[in-house]
Homo-oligomer: 397 residues x 2
């Protein structure tokens, strides 16, 4: 089963919008075990959209067409599809009523153009998910199928997950359920992970299910993705659970979370579970740490605040690691939190910076000194995640 992706929109070709939709769809197709060999971007031009669709239908079994379903004159994907299908449009009364009521509920005047979104090529089926005003379409063409989804990422995602992937799986005769789980790691290189898991990966190569893959994700750490393929979801979940436990046993506290859990979410949860609050002293990271923590804890119930200054947070005459410890203690005391943490920069030398990280937990202090890359952005990114990782490990002991 091959599925091709066509992203429609002149703004994509002009670089005004970066096409992240195709990348996301590609990832979902791969996870569903469906091959995607081509992804094409084309502008809002009838002939060229038609050409791209015809070519895709020729060389692939299914086509996902993303974008160009809006209400303006530019949005012609719907018309091109009807032309390729060789059919007329019908105005879908249910969708038209829905669009009218969306405008009415927002107190906005609807121009007649908006009802174009209720036009459906005869033989095509609107998708059940309809988070916006543009309906997605399932269009059978010969023994192949074309899916049209809007370019708005949230709407597109809902339709791909809710209609397109299940339909593709059904068509591919794949009764199997494919489920995946990501173990998020920090503190070990990709080759280190591969070495640690070599024996298990060899076993799995023989068994064939589940499979394991690594995905380096920069400041998000290295992801270890487990993919299980089974006859039913319960069995797949059991396999994922078992494999996760097994890999955690090997990797230990290098695994900080699963799936979409970021380091800050994990740290906030650990703090909350222990009834602790947090304050930060940012001499080095200039507000980046606070910004990430407050984004993950908007009510600032656990993360209580921080102090940012180029210097003067703590006595500059102290040795670096003691300065960081003193800064962590000072901010903990000032904000009256259970935990204070600090990142402080020391000597800068050829491309690297000496950095002290410290966590003051009241009862005890944890700290370490590291050499981090001198490039300002990477220095800050690494200091933030390493400091959070230090706190995470301190909270787990």
């Amino acid at each position: 089963m091959h599925c091709e992706v066509i992203a429609v929109g002149t703004e994509l070709l002009l670089g005004i919008v970066v096409d992240g939709n195709s990348a996301w769809i590609g990832e979902q197709l791969a996870l569903a075990g469906i091959d995607c060999y081509f992804q094409v971007k084309v502008g809002d031009n009838f002939k060229r959209i038609e050409g791209a669709i015809r070519q895709a239908l020729e060389r692939s079994d299914a086509v996902i067409c993303c974008g160009g379903l809006g209400p303006t004159q530019d949005d012609i994907t719907r018309d091109v599809i009807a032309h390729v299908m060789g059919v007329e449009m019908r105005r879908d009364a249910v969708i038209a009523d829905r669009i009218r009521s969306i405008f009415a509920s927002r107190g906005r005047v609807m121009s007649q153009n908006n009802l174009r979104q209720a036009d459906v090529p005869i033989g095509a089926q609107p998708m059940a998910q309809m988070p916006g005003t543009a309906p997605g379409l399932v269009c059978p063409i010969g023994d192949k199928v074309l899916y049209a989804v809007p370019g708005v990422p949230s709407e597109m995602r809902e339709m791909i997950s809710g209609t397109v992937l299940p339909d593709l799986r059904r068509r591919s005769g794949q009764a199997a359920v494919i489920m995946s789980r990501v173990l998020r790691t920090w503190g070990m290189s990709e080759s280190g992970l591969a070495e640690a898991l070599a024996v298990r990966v060899e076993e799995l190569d023989r068994l064939g299910n589940p499979t394991i893959a690594y995905q380096a994700s920069g400041i998000e750490g290295i992801k270890v993705r487990i993919v299980a393929k089974c006859d039913d979801a319960a069995e797949a979940a059991r396999i994922l659970d078992r494999e996760e436990a097994l890999l955690r046993g090997v990797l230990g506290d290098v695994v900080f979370g699963i799936d979409e859990q970021s380091m800050e979410v994990v740290v906030l949860k650990l703090l909350k579970d222990k009834g602790l609050t947090l304050a930060v002293a940012e001499e080095l990271t200039g507000g980046l740490l606070s910004s990430r923590m407050s984004a993950a804890d908007p009510a600032m119930a656990v993360f209580r605040g921080g102090r940012i200054a180029a210097d003067a947070i703590a006595d500059g005459r102290l040795p670096l690691n003691e300065r960081a410890g003193a800064a962590a203690a000072a901010v903990r005391s000032h904000y009256q939190t259970g935990v204070g943490i600090a990142a402080v920069a020391g000597k800068r030398e050829a491309g690297v910076v000496e950095v002290a990280l410290a966590a003051d937990l009241g009862g005890g202090r944890h700290g370490e000194t590291q050499l981090l890359p001198g490039d300002q952005k990477r220095l800050r990114d690494f200091a933030v995640i390493n400091l959070l990782n230090l706190l995470r490990k301190a909270l787990c002991t």
Copy 2:
């Protein structure tokens, strides 16, 4: 002149990497007046890369092929190009020496594989720019041309700007120089800008040069791009200068900067020019403002620091605007800076939040209360940029 872009790499189809390269190239082509009708992503597969290149050569005058020039077995773009050109490879001795010396200078062992990057299809010309180990290639094919550039964004950009665009302009017989300037605006809607500039745009439509276009860029404001096309660069620069002055005359202080100048860079420059320093109180924005200011001023010479807390920055019993003013004054006094600014949240109601922004400049206070969207991320983003804009206007008066 049509130029097509092919991005090569299975990681692009799998969504592991989002293809930002094609978007950037598309933007550069548009600015150079060269049409781009198709952009295609294809995996590391000989037959499919070949198919994409042959089709592109058929329907376009020029092709830019991005990625697949690395040293590993996956990187086969070079081989496919030689095949399409119908030629053998020759090993370029100069490039080979260069690759050897790059490895030697880094004290790393070079595997023989790396010398594959010195292989050049006979008849192709290596590009002069060579920031990494992969050379870009200019490959004449019949009366058309194919450019191969690496997928590493910084290397790709250098080669596109240094070789590909000048070569494309020469081939298109376009003697003209195309230059652009972006006016960065904040505080006026796109339709507001269009209305304010309607008379001038009408004049320019008649004159034909320069042209003006709007580009909504979310939290970066709305960009007004002036594009001038002339016989020489000096004349183009003069036209841009004159048009910028004219538009600034109409738009006034809605224009906060040009080209790549962000709001924080502009504010930091204004402060520096006046010999002022800055501290911030973040009750609402949780460190985002500090993070952006310190990123733009890593030495923290002008931005001296800030305090972040959910509350308790200033007396909660005061009216909202007075609280913001008091917080700005307090942080200014604490950090002993010339200016203190603060963002404070008030009532939350159906989708909106009442927000007070204040700047204390020692001699005087500036402040305003606004209704901002209740969605946490947008609320913070808007509060940051609106607060900086308030300070910018205060510094200009």
